[in-house]
Amino acid sequence: MGTTVTESTTLGNKTKFKELLDNFGLPRLIIAGFLLLLFIMAPMVGADFATQISNTVNRFSWNAVLVLAMVPMVHSGCGLNFGLPLGIISGLLGATLSIQLGFTGGMSFVMAILICTPFALLLGGGYGWLLNKIKGGEMMIATYVGFSSVSFMCMMWLLLPYTSPKMVWGLSGKGLRTTISLEGFYDKVLARFLQINIGKLSIPVGSLLFFAALAFLMWAFLHTRTGTAMTAVGSNPTFARASGINIDKMRMLSVVLSTWLGAVGILVYEQGFGFIQIYTAPLFMALPTVSAILIGGASVNKASIANVIIGTFLFQGIVTMTPTVINSMIHMDMSEVIRVIVSQGMILYALTRKTEGSK
């Protein structure tokens, strides 16, 4: 682990194939191979291939925007956004307020996005200010800022004066329920839009189009002057400062963008999943998202849209396929354990790789 760079330069005539392999990384190859194996085995153990593909694509559409939220902060050198729970909280506030104010159907989704934006800007701004003060130790602090804010919001969900009967506890009428159903609101509002159903195969084209639009906007942004400045801040801060770029401002912008995308991402996730999960659920959303983008080929200081797409697909593929295939084979439900080992192992690998600027 982490000794590839020096070896390839000293040996000189390493084949291009081997170099490609080293850059791609052994763990990623293992994961991609594992997924391929699962796909091949699925029809053999009796799992319905079309349903599996539909499930994988569906889960991809739920998670892709959340993983996309990782990209801006990686580009600006703030590392992996372990503080994604802050964006998720903004999204949850948008969702619950949208329902509280009485919007239904597709309109509730649009209003949720509109309402979550000021929260995302506020929380993202505060979070960005904090990260600017602690350059170098972002990842650990981000994790605990995320945890603290989720715990704080746990108290708030109980105290805030929500009254909508769809959301509060039945008996006392005060405090939000842990899981709020989105039937009648924006449940599958994007997924059903232009949905393709061929037999058992169902593809949520609407969600995929939504993700594609956001991904395209991100790609376009990264190629503008501001976007390129952001990337410069991440890859070479000294050069960026010499070129007159305001590093703090760029980092703040990337954090706000990331938080906003996280807010929209959790809304997309909710519409696919069908429920709003509050209280402690956001605690467990950052780590799988981080490992998804790492599986896709990103590193602590480099991430692209392709990484997002490949990574989300591989990760969700494993999460979907492992239970059905392995359960049919050995009648043991190992899916949760395998998911934890794969995702955490991937993050561990990325953290321990020698990156291009470190000692």
């Binding site: 170098g136 130790g137 715990s151 080992i341």
Partner: protein, 375 residues
């Protein structure tokens, strides 16, 4: 920083306040919470003594990596896992009482050593990011632990008694009862003073651990670790094998954590097989930080002060919260929030102090150069 040179007296108080802000905040919270909660002082005293005996050993294990400059060792969870595996075996082989505890401690040591070596090795590959790496390693190892305990124990690793096995045929049950060795360490030589039970033997073990740490700091290895903690490059130039020293620090910490977990579990009386170890890291680190420690400096005093304040807050918060808002869940969430918040504040203070020190060093260098140039 410059103001300190001008008027030393008043700013010394301000700095004292700043450095000890976390313990002071907790003292205030406890002062408000204790009367609100309605618990009697006798009950609180008994609870604190029990918790001190239960947790102090675990928190002492965090001191060594801080000395070696590796920050807060979130990987102490690995030691806890080693202890749990050892205890599962001991419970299965039905060795109870003090011999059982001794055997569990001895068994946990090789497991903790191997896991600690892995953790230390990984942290050496992620210099500068040790804390987040140990944090992720604890989650990763939790997956491996589940793999071993949930799937391999039973089919692959023999578990004799059905009381420990789940009905599925593989895996260990969610709780493993330690009823027959419950508090055997505590009860031996226990003294009862006015309703408060003092587990003398446990405190003896804790005192031994403290003495060990004090002695260790004076040994060559201890001095090596402190040198590595201060400045890795200078230590390397002085001929110290930095990588090996760091790995040894983590191995020692993990072994201590394993022993501490055995003490913790014998006091609790049962193992929550899949969840006992998860929160232990976070709560121990929070307790240490509440005691006034920081990411790069911790002393034995911090450990004991931290246990007292943190656990006082922990006991008092749910009832106090219920009294204030009428909802009992608020207190529970509040104490979790405080635990996370205290770690966040400590991490932020550490990072800002680090950057301020770098900035100050840069300014001093510039001042020196300017002075030299003027001559």
């Amino acid at each position: 920083m410059n103001k300190k040179l001008e008027n030393g007296e008043s700013n010394r108080w301000l700095e004292l306040l700043q450095n000890n802000s976390v313990p002071l905040t907790f003292i205030i919270i406890c002062a408000i919470g204790i009367p609100l909660s309605g618990f009697s002082p006798g009950y609180l005293l008994n609870e604190i003594v029990t918790r001190m005996g239960r947790n102090a050993f675990l928190i002492l294990s965090l001191l060594i990596p801080i000395m070696a400059g590796m920050g807060l060792n979130f990987g102490m969870t690995l030691g806890a896992m080693g202890a749990q595996i050892a205890l599962i075996f001991v419970a299965d082989w039905q060795i109870w009482g003090i011999p059982g505890i001794l055997l569990a401690m001895i068994l946990s040591m090789p497991i903790s050593a191997v896991l600690g070596a892995f953790c230390g090795h990984m942290m050496n590959h992620a210099i500068g990011k040790e804390m987040i790496t140990s944090y992720i390693i604890s989650y990763f190892m939790d997956g491996m632990y589940s793999l071993v305990v949930l799937y391999m124990m039973g089919p692959v690793i023999p578990v004799i008694h059905a009381a420990i096995r789940t009905t599925r045929g593989y895996g260990v049950r969610n709780t493993v009862s330690l009823l027959n060795m419950r508090q055997s360490l505590d009860n031996l030589f226990a003294i009862h003073i006015g309703g408060v039970k003092i587990p003398v033997l446990t405190f003896l073990l804790i005192a031994l651990a403290c003495l060990f740490i004090i002695w260790f700091r004076k040994t060559k290895l201890g001095q090596d670790m402190r040198a590595v903690g201060q400045d890795m490059d200078v230590a390397r130039d002085a001929g110290i094998n930095v990588e090996r020293t760091r790995i040894i620090a983590i191995v020692m910490s993990t072994i201590f954590a394993g022993l501490g977990m055995v003490i913790y579990l014998q006091n609790m009386g049962n193992i929550s097989t899949y969840s006992s170890h998860k929160q232990i890291g976070m709560f121990c680190i929070a307790a240490l930080l509440v005691g006034g420690a920081s990411v790069d400096k911790a002393s034995i005093g911090n450990v004991f002060l931290g246990v007292m304040l943190f656990h006082l807050m922990f006991i008092v918060a749910p009832s106090a919260g219920a009294r204030i808002t009428g909802d009992s869940m608020i207190g529970e969430y509040f104490r979790v929030f405080l635990s996370y918040a205290v770690i966040t504040v400590a991490l932020v203070m550490y990072e800002t102090k680090k950057r301020r020190a770098k900035g100050k060093a840069g300014r001093l260098l510039r001042f020196e150069q300017h002075k030299g140039g003027k001559k």
